[in-house]
């Protein structure tokens, strides 16, 4: 793809089709042959193994630990408890800016949730460490666990999510309801869910004096270096994090956690490398989760089915000692036009580990409720659910009136509906059967996700042989950053992706920002893009000022970088290869650098979101109530698509997660003790292949000149939103039973009178 280096930097012009190439993952072969090294694959010489002992109570105090028994076990080297835990330079009961959480690192003997670390055992083998932890035989002073709506402590939060206001009001909500001819109101419940990335949280820590190397899966390298440095009282540059691959993160590997800090501390104390890997069960506590919500939605409509008021309230759980709250009600802010919108949050403190961002935080739970509420409102108005949404289409951001940077949602609705075959849908529920007699239902939901942009830096080096090395400390959680980021850089450099080597996943490289908020490709990508343009500009400078170059004197006219050559913009026949330019200049390379961030002026003038529409078909056994999602069709508009293969795979992953949310996923906590009774992948159900037999994701073209100069929005999380509601609505359409509690279970149908 050609690239004009003289165009003013912030506004990069598109060339021809915005669709990138569907390259397969560059790291694919490494992964399928088992040669991709994940954190726990590292085994430095002399390494010890750490295992945390975790609390089995939700609230109280540890009164005794049999440290002697643990230490007497062959192979056990050391046991850290609150009594002998070396000091940390940062108070773990204080939050760490910018969005660090409080952590549990043996600061005292209190227990705040189940699976909290209460000791850490270090041994020569993982077996010995595990048995040592078992031998600690903790004794507790138990206080009653606060596990539910009745026993938890309610509070009015100052902020929700990461720094969002707890209450957002637009217009006069009561006036809105007064103007309504129809009002619908219902309560919705979403369960606690745990990230359950395939790779557990792990770390291999090696100290060398006051420098430490951490092999750990990490979604936010630079930030984590600074935070770990603060805990260990060393400069940030003394922390090296290597995270070339993550076996999934979903938000749970962006925030520091107690077990990893303790393992790093043990390595320093014992002056030997230490490895820790959480067990699956231990991931249900100290590494975040999606908190439970109870939501109430009240919608007012006029005669034409237009919203006059949209009131979304959410009661969201958090821990007893920190504040993260699922910003669920904010799902009602960006999507539907209404003269009055009110989103309100209340907090509920339970004796659980602190929740945190989990793929599509806020929006996953909030959209689940909102999209069902919209379906119920459409039903009340006697309107088709899609027509109802179109009647309430927001031309500008509903609560601010700002224009959208781009919004091809109408096209998403249209293309998705067409591919799905929505137009033949009967209004009435329980009217469709397939040839086998299964009840069939169709439902839909709107998908939306914001487009954050994190500051990021990058470096691009054009080498003597005409190839390039590009560098940024990015994080590939499986989404394909190794591939997509290289493609962006290659485009800026006018090279084939094969000629571009990407160096990423290690904190010593230029800060690649955060792999979160669906903002990584845009953030690190823009930095790479700008670094590439900077390198090309420097190269052009060499050529155009060299009388021996065919490009001499083209400085004002400009050059175009394409296929490893610079071309004079007004005369394509006058060109020179990168290698030739460098050779004649006697240079081994030319280095471009960039720091990239969103232009605050552009940002404040626009509302920026990815959008989509999801259509679901479910089949339900008319007697047994077993539900299966037969088909999912999603159409998404998310700016420019760098790699359609990877993007489609993100949408698929999101939509499957939506099916999981709708029908399967739930952590079951014992209501008396708070212990999670299904903390393993046999009983914590996520979909298997057979659960989603047919998936379709349509990539709707969208040109966004404002979101960032490369026009890229986020695709990683949006697929969950919309899908949950679409499936629940399809279950209603199939059965006539409106289930307002997730996941929808067989008994919700079996015991319902509407179900036969």
């Amino acid at each position: 793809m050609p690239l004009e280096t003289t165009s003013p930097l912030p506004q990069h012009r598109r060339h021809g089709s915005s669709a990138g190439q569907p390259l397969t993952r560059r790291d694919g072969v490494l992964k399928v042959t088992g040669r991709a090294t994940y954190a726990a694959d590292n085994h430095p010489d002399g390494m010890l193994y750490a295992v945390t002992a975790v609390s089995s109570i939700a609230r109280g105090r540890v009164t005794a630990l049999d440290v002697e028994a643990a230490k007497a076990h062959p192979g056990v080297v050391e046991v850290l408890t609150p009594a002998n835990r070396p000091p940390l330079a940062h108070d773990p009961d204080e939050k760490m800016p910018p969005f660090g959480f409080r952590v549990e690192v043996l600061q005292d003997d209190t227990v705040r949730y189940v699976n909290q670390p209460i000791a850490i055992v270090i041994a020569e083998t993982p077996e010995a460490a595990t048995e040592g932890a078992a031998l600690l035989n903790p004794q507790y002073e138990v206080e009653p666990a606060r596990t539910g709506r009745e026993s938890g402590e309610r509070f009015d939060p100052e902020v929700i999510g990461i720094g969002a206001p707890a209450r957002t009001a637009h217009g006069d909500i009561e006036a809105g309801f007064a103007a309504a001819v129809r009002v619908t109101e219902a309560d919705y419940v979403t369960p606690p869910q745990y990230h359950n990335a395939m790779e557990p949280h792990a770390v291999v820590a090696q100290w060398d004096g006051d420098r430490v190397t951490l092999d750990m899966p990490n979604q936010a390298l630079a930030l984590s270096c600074a935070s770990h440095a603060a805990y260990f009282g060393i400069p940030a540059e003394n922390v090296l994090i290597r995270s070339p691959f993550l076996g999934g993160g979903f938000g749970s590997k962006a925030i520091l956690n107690g077990p990893q800090i303790l393992a790093i501390l043990a390595a320093r104390m014992l002056d030997r490398p230490v490895k820790l890997a959480l067990t699956r069960a231990q991931m249900y506590g100290p590494v975040g989760h999606r908190g439970r919500t109870w939501q109430k939605l009240r919608l007012g409509m006029d005669e034409e089915g237009r919203l006059t008021a949209l009131h979304h309230q959410a009661l969201c759980t958090t821990s007893s000692f920190d504040e993260f709250l699922e910003p669920a009600a904010n799902a009602s802010l960006p999507l539907y036009a209404s003269p009055a919108i009110l989103a309100e949050h209340e907090g509920l403190r339970l004796d659980v580990g602190t929740p945190g961002p989990m793929r599509a935080p806020g929006l996953a739970s909030g959209s689940a409720a909102l999209e069902v509420a919209m379906d119920e409102a459409a039903e009340a108005c006697g309107m088709d659910p899609l027509d109802f949404r179109l009647a309430n289409y927001a031309e500008t951001e509903p609560t601010t009136g700002k224009p959208f940077s781009s919004k091809a949602l109408r096209e998403c609705y249209a293309e998705g509906a067409k591919r799905f075959g929505w137009s033949g849908r009967p209004h009435e529920p329980r009217t469709m059967r397939d040839e086998s007699g299964f009840l069939v239902g169709w439902g839909m939901g709107t998908a939306v996700f914001h487009c954050p942009h994190f500051p990021a830096e990058a470096r691009a080096t054009l080498r003597a042989d005409g190839t390039a090395l590009v560098e940024t400390a990015g994080a590939d959680m499986g989404q394909g950053a190794w591939t997509a980021l290289a493609q962006i850089a290659a485009e800026a450099l006018g090279l084939d992706p094969d000629q571009v080597e990407l160096n990423s996943g290690i904190s010593s490289l230029p800060d690649g920002g955060i792999a979160g908020g669906s903002g990584h490709t845009a953030s690190a990508g823009l930095a790479l893009h700008n670094a590439g343009e900077d390198a090309i500009a420097r190269l052009a400078e060499l050529a155009t000022t060299d009388p021996a170059s065919p490009l001499f004197g083209a400085g004002n006219i400009g050059v175009v970088a394409r296929a490893g050559r610079l071309h004079r913009r007004d005369d394509e026949n006058r060109s020179e290869s990168y290698a030739e330019i460098l050779a004649r200049a006697g240079r081994s390379d030319v280095v471009g650098t960039a720091k990239a961030a969103r232009d605050p002026a552009v940002a404040s003038a626009h509302a920026m979101y990815s959008h989509g529409a999801v259509f679901a078909e479910v089949k339900v056994d008319p007697d047994l109530g077993q539900i299966r999602v037969a088909r999912l069709v999603g159409a998404f508009a998310a700016g420019r698509v760098i790699n359609p293969r990877l993007v489609r795979s993100q949408y698929f992953g999101g939509m499957i997660w939506g099916a999981s949310f709708a029908l399967h996923e739930e952590a079951i906590a014992d209501r008396r003790t708070g212990r999670i009774m299904n903390a393993d992948l046999a009983e914590y159900h996520v979909p298997v292949n057979a659960d989603v037999p047919s998936l379709d994701a349509i990539l709707i073209p969208e040109d966004d000149p404002y979101v960032n100069p490369i026009g890229v929005k986020g695709v990683g999380e949006i697929g969950i939103t919309g899908t949950v509601g679409a499936i629940a609505n399809a279950v209603w359409h199939a059965t006539g039973v409106r289930v307002r509690r997730f996941p929808v279970r067989v008994e919700d149908l079996i015991i319902s009178r509407e179900f036969a």
């Binding site: 089995s56 008396r672 299904n678 159900h685 979909p687 298997v688 659960d691």
Partner: protein, 352 residues
Amino acid sequence: MNRFDYIRPASVPEAVEAAAVPGSTYLAAGTNLLDLMKGGAARPERVIDITRLPGLDRIEWLPDGSVRVGALVRNSDLAYDDRFARTFPAVAEALLSGASAQLRNAATVGGNLMQRTRCAYFHDLASACNRRAPGSGCDAREGENRLHAVLGWSEHCIATHPSDFCVPLVALDAVAEVAGAHGAREIPVDALHVLPGATPEQETALAPGELIVSLRIPAEAAAFARNARYLKLRERTSFAFAVVSVAAALEMEAGAIRKARIALGGIAAKPWRAREAEVSLEGAEANPEAFAKAAEMALAEARPSGDNAFKIELARRIVARALTLALDGTPEAMPALPASPFSTTPGANHAA
């Protein structure tokens, strides 16, 4: 995991002798035992690895038409054995509806029979559990028990037996052939798992150290081959234990039912044979009313042990459905989703 002795006997008598020492446990494929050991719910002092015992990995057809299946035959090998699957199709279907392909490739016949309950409180060491720690109480009783037993439970234990395989075995009068310190004996699979009563720690009829060497399915069971199904309701389409399941088999004669077999899974501490319901069908015309009546009878004694009343209604419906499917006839080929409601009706989407 605790430290334990590992013993690998070379013959059945050696194995039985080794297991006579208290604190011993047999290890087959370990897909259940090792999980329990890692979690600490099982802490054997001696692990007797039976996987190298000779002669227990065979499927042997006896002259009278019955079959003897060695205890070490893998679940998938048995399910994919052509003659076995044709003769006892509901058993093959049940096997293939269990766990995942990887697990079935490892899991053994003996291990499947002897797998322990999935009751979460049994696995959670911090919970009171009479089955794991006799006399400690039962935290499931007032706990998260929507999937617990609705038949045969006691105040002391409300756990269910999780095996799919065992459900048609019980329906077909299969027998476990057992070796022990006091010689060999036979135990009907129906009598192998015992109801909890006041001693839930007594999970099976095996005496300590007794080894299941093989399983025998009698020749008479082959008479049901043309009308036999296993149906399993679960919380995802595949790779989940049964919420409720049923094996139903009919022997038809001139449009009427000559014999019927019904057994339920996931509702009691043992696979639950519904004998009275079977009798009600014998000689009856096969029709929805007869099936509904049989379903009613099968669940007549059922009562919820917690938040699980729905399982009773579900079980009734699934019995009636399985009988209907059995009457429709055993499918020519194994459905793509064995035992799933989504595979049992012709024309359903078998895309998975």
